[in-house]
């Protein structure tokens, strides 16, 4: 059940999934995290995986990117079984940004982003003018050209995340998998980073990410995958998927879903226990 609300710009013939998992079971040392799961990632769309902690969202993303090998089932990338492809060939098609990556102290932004060219290089051909121009473009697109000479560890969290996304971009793939790109960022920087991801999507990338913040996920994605206990509970456009009942079922969260006053998406208002007065709200 692929989402119906695919961006209109995508021609019908290309609407087959770029990346799909069928019947995958994944586990760590005997404990099964994902059990017999099917999913298809529609092309040209921002897809976000949400779900409670420990539901297997990151595991699913890592399985789709071949970081984890499923015990059964297959992941198909552009028609090929991903397990049978060479690691390098996967890296030429699919860019992956793991959760909270760390750069060596003192490494400059330009050098980090340049490393994104690795899949296209070889022992003899370690740097070409192509590489230079792609890296320049990646730096410019993510707005970090001015920081190119600065050490990555001297940057703020938001800038650092931009730099990592820039490295993934320099890889030159139009399929980006981002594992919680907004972790450790305050709301303003999270919005900033997601705007950047949306720019990449607008420029033609297929994006799959894991997010914790439900309202940001609702605002920024066209296709939500809601997971619980290793399986998919619902998938589709946020307008169709996000309901009070679903939030209760997936997260055990009591919430009201209202119209977003600044957008055309639903807005989740968690209820919780204190300072709630459903008739009139006092305080902040």
């Amino acid at each position: 059940m692929v989402a119906q609300h695919i961006t209109d710009a995508v021609p019908v013939v290309e609407r087959t999934a770029r990346l799909a998992a069928s019947g995958v079971t994944v586990g760590y040392g005997g404990r099964i995290v994902i059990d017999d799961l099917d999913v298809a990632i529609p092309p040209g769309v921002m897809t976000t995986i949400i779900g409670p902690n420990g539901c297997g969202k990151s595991t699913l993303l890592r399985t789709l990117s071949r970081l984890l090998k499923p015990t059964s089932g297959t992941v198909v990338l552009d028609g090929d079984d991903i397990a049978k492809l060479r690691t390098r060939d996967v890296a030429k098609k699919l860019g992956l940004l793991p959760q909270a990556p760390v750069a060596p102290e003192g490494l400059t932004v330009a050098d980090l982003v340049a490393r994104g060219r690795h899949p296209h290089q070889s022992w003899l051909r370690q740097w070409s003018s192509d590489d230079a121009s792609v890296v320049e473009r990646a730096l410019a697109m993510t707005g970090v050209s001015d920081l190119a000479d600065r050490p990555v560890d001297s940057l703020s969290g938001g800038q650092r995340q931009r730099v990592w996304i820039s490295m993934t971009l320099a890889q030159g793939t139009d399929l980006l998998l981002l594992d919680e790109p907004t972790t450790y960022l305050d709301l303003a920087h999270a919005v900033d980073v997601l705007d950047l991801v949306d720019d990449l999507h607008e420029s033609g990338c297929t994006v799959v990410m894991v997010l914790h913040d439900l309202n940001l996920a609702t605002r920024y994605s066209d296709n939500l995958i809601v997971m619980r206990e290793g399986s998919i509970l619902a998938q589709g456009h946020p307008r169709d998927v996000i309901t009070a009942e679903l939030l209760q079922e997936a997260f055990g969260l009591r919430a009201q879903v209202i119209d977003d006053p600044v957008g055309d998406r639903p807005l989740i208002v968690p209820i919780g226990r204190t300072h709630v007065n459903l008739v009139t709200q006092k305080g902040s």
């Binding site: 760590y28 040392g29 990117s65 071949r66 970081l67 060479r86 690691t87 390098r88 060939d89 996967v90 890296a91 030429k92 860019g95 992956l96 940004l97 793991p98 990556p101 760390v102 750069a103 060596p104 102290e105 003192g106 490494l107 400059t108 330009a110 050098d111 980090l112 340049a114 490393r115 994104g116 690795h118 899949p119 290089q121 070889s122 022992w123 003899l124 051909r125 370690q126 740097w127 070409s128 003018s129 590489d131 230079a132 890296v135 320049e136 730096l139 410019a140 050209s145 001015d146 190119a148 000479d149 050490p151 993934t168 890889q171």
Partner: protein, 353 residues
């Protein structure tokens, strides 16, 4: 800044036929200087002795245009020692650069990962325990080769104990320290319970020394190191993204498990070759990569520069031990005495900046 500056943001590339690489003038300059300094100290170490030979004569002889007398003193008497210093220094420096990069921790040197400890325990066992198996092993393969095997076995043991769905730097270091402690305990126990004459021989082996190297020992160390360095050079390119962790490396198309296993094996073998050629010379593998990083201003230990610094440190220490000090000391005593303060100086200077 404006668009005209954009071209300078990325390091320029250099192209030689099919080969292209990033051009970093500072790194290249420092590495070249280090190579020149290493060659100079190497020649100095040959030049100095009971029968001093001028530097020009040394260089002429090395390139096969020396006089007969010099030829004998240099090639037969002094070259093995100097070459051993060069090779052992490079092996230790590169080995340290690899282990520190893999563990992403400057503490992870072959000294700490059990290689030196294991080699020492085996060597001391063979020297102090007479008769039976020990004598048989000493006679058939020699102390050096047995020590090499002991170092390798201990290194492998540490690696396998530390392996848990991949290698974690901290776990590797903790297990290395634990295993090293056990090996040191065994060594101490052997020394305490051994005959006093054997203890003196064992002690001499334990501090690390370049005295009385034969051409045979040096050739073995040289060829083994050369082969290993070729493998390291081959694998180094795939290792580059691994400085960012396994997951980023995998995302960039690197089969990190294989690359790491190959490089770690090379590091263990290089350290083993060094230990079997010169004994467990302390501190070179720990300090050389750190010094090289600071001299080349690299964020990660540079392989070539680390090897050169290791060699410079070891040969320089040997030269100092033979000439500047009133008593002739084993090189291992001096490497720690020079290397330690120099690293502290570099760290303090970084703090003051």
């Amino acid at each position: 800044m404006n668009g005209t500056d954009v071209k300078q943001t990325v390091a320029p590339g250099v192209r030689l036929g099919q080969v292209s690489f990033v051009w970093r003038p500072w790194v290249a300059g420092v590495t070249l200087l280090l190579a020149a300094a290493t060659f100079l100290v190497f020649c100095l170490s040959i030049s100095v002795g009971d029968f001093p030979i001028g530097l020009p004569n040394v260089i002429a002889t090395i390139f096969g245009r020396g006089e007969q007398v010099d030829q004998f003193v240099i090639m037969d008497l002094r070259m093995p020692r100097a070459l051993a210093g060069l090779v052992v220094g490079i092996a230790l420096g590169v080995s340290g650069a690899i282990t520190q990069s893999i563990a992403r921790n400057p503490l992870a040197s072959p000294d700490i990962l059990g290689i030196t400890g294991g080699a020492s325990a085996v060597a001391v066992f063979l020297v102090t325990v007479s008769g039976g198996t020990a004598a048989a092993i000493t006679d058939s393969v020699g102390v050096s080769a047995a020590a090499l095997a002991g170092g390798l076995a201990t290194g492998m043991l540490v690696y396998f104990l530390a392996w848990r769905r991949g290698i974690d730097g901290f776990r590797l270091i903790l297990i290395g320290i634990s295993v090293s402690a056990v090996m040191e305990a065994i060594t101490t126990w052997l020394l305490v319970s051994a005959d006093i004459r054997d203890v003196a021989r064992a002690q001499a082996w334990l501090v690390g020394s370049l005295d009385n190297r034969s051409w045979n020992e040096v050739w073995v160390a040289l060829w083994c190191s050369l082969v290993l360095l070729v493998v390291v050079t081959g694998a180094a390119f795939q290792f580059k993204p691994m400085h960012f962790g396994d997951e980023v490396a995998a995302g960039l198309g690197v089969r990190y498990g294989r690359v790491r296993a190959v490089l770690l094996l090379c590091a263990v073998l290089l350290a083993g070759v060094a230990v079997s050629a010169a004994g467990p010379v302390p501190f070179v593998a720990l300090v050389a990569p750190q010094v090289a990083m600071r001299l080349t201003r690299s964020p990660t230990p540079p392989m070539v520069a680390s090897g050169l610094v290791g060699s410079l440190l070891l040969t320089g220490a040997d030269l100092t031990a033979r000439t500047a000090l009133p008593v002739s000391l084993p090189v291992g005593v001096v490497t720690a005495a020079i290397g330690g303060p120099f690293l502290v100086y570099l760290l303090v200077r970084a703090n003051l900046r």
